[in-house]
């Protein structure tokens, strides 16, 4: 009889094996995160969206990008993150390898709820843009009193 713990252990072992195999090809030119939703390697920035009840929280990967170079546009349930990655190539150096892109980027999303664009908080730290988007009053969860 197979138990859950056995199955879990087997899956874990397979994941470990996959990681080992992946590290064999470590020199591949493309950054790749296994086990995540598959999106094209050219999709930039990658984002996570979560729902905390009163707010939607968006996190986007923006390494090495100054906050002046990022634009966030919000209207109703439409969110757009755009900007430019400027080259940080130092002066007087010869480049051997340049994998980090320096193009402009833009992604737009349809959020599951309308948000209050006036109360959005955004911070850019350690290369992650974190945004707290308060849901508009109509979209917030409500406690219903039972008579």
């Amino acid at each position: 009889m197979a138990r859950w713990s056995d199955l879990d252990q087997l899956m874990g072992a397979m994941e470990l094996f996959r990681n080992r195999m992946n590290s064999l090809f470590n020199e591949g030119d493309r950054p790749y995160v296994p086990g995540q939703v598959w999106i094209g390697a050219e999709t930039f920035p990658r984002t996570n969206l979560s729902d905390t009840g009163d707010n939607l929280e968006v996190v986007a990967e923006l390494p090495g990008i100054a906050k002046e170079d990022v634009n966030v546009k919000i209207q109703g349930n439409y969110l757009e993150i755009s900007g430019t990655r400027t080259s940080d190539a130092p002066e007087g150096y010869a480049a051997h390898r340049t994998e980090r892109g320096t193009a402009s980027f833009s992604r737009s999303f349809t959020l599951p709820y309308d948000v209050d664009a006036g109360k959005v908080e955004a911070t850019l730290k350690d290369g992650l843009l974190r945004m707290k988007l308060p849901k508009s009053e109509a979209a917030k969860p409500r406690q219903i009193a039972i008579n």
């Binding site: 086990g35 996570n48 969206l49 979560s50 390494p63 480049a95 290369g127 992650l128």
Partner: protein, 127 residues
Amino acid sequence: MNEKTELVTTKQAGELVHQLPIATPAVDIYENDAEILLHADMPGVVKEDISVHIDNGKMILSGTRRLSVAGASTWREFGDAEFRRTFSVPQSIDVGRVHAELKDGVLRLHLPKSEAARPRQIEIKAG
């Protein structure tokens, strides 16, 4: 043997079966007369979680990202990961003077060349 003791012995086996997904960080590599400079994208990694290990001509760069997640996930395109990549480094690098800074999720690693390996202008004396 009942179920309870079996569970306990399974735990004690202590086999490593869980590990963070390994991501390959994108890098830029530059060089001038004095040093080799490496820029690596590691969004979400803090400096305490970065290690650089140089041994016998091989450099292993590793940074671990742990994200705090609140609420229910609607979509998820990235997660906790270990950014890891191995490089060959020439013997001419002065390992003792290697230094790095981390800013906005980008690691800048300086690999200074040892004095003996730097290019030298040879002055030709008139005979």
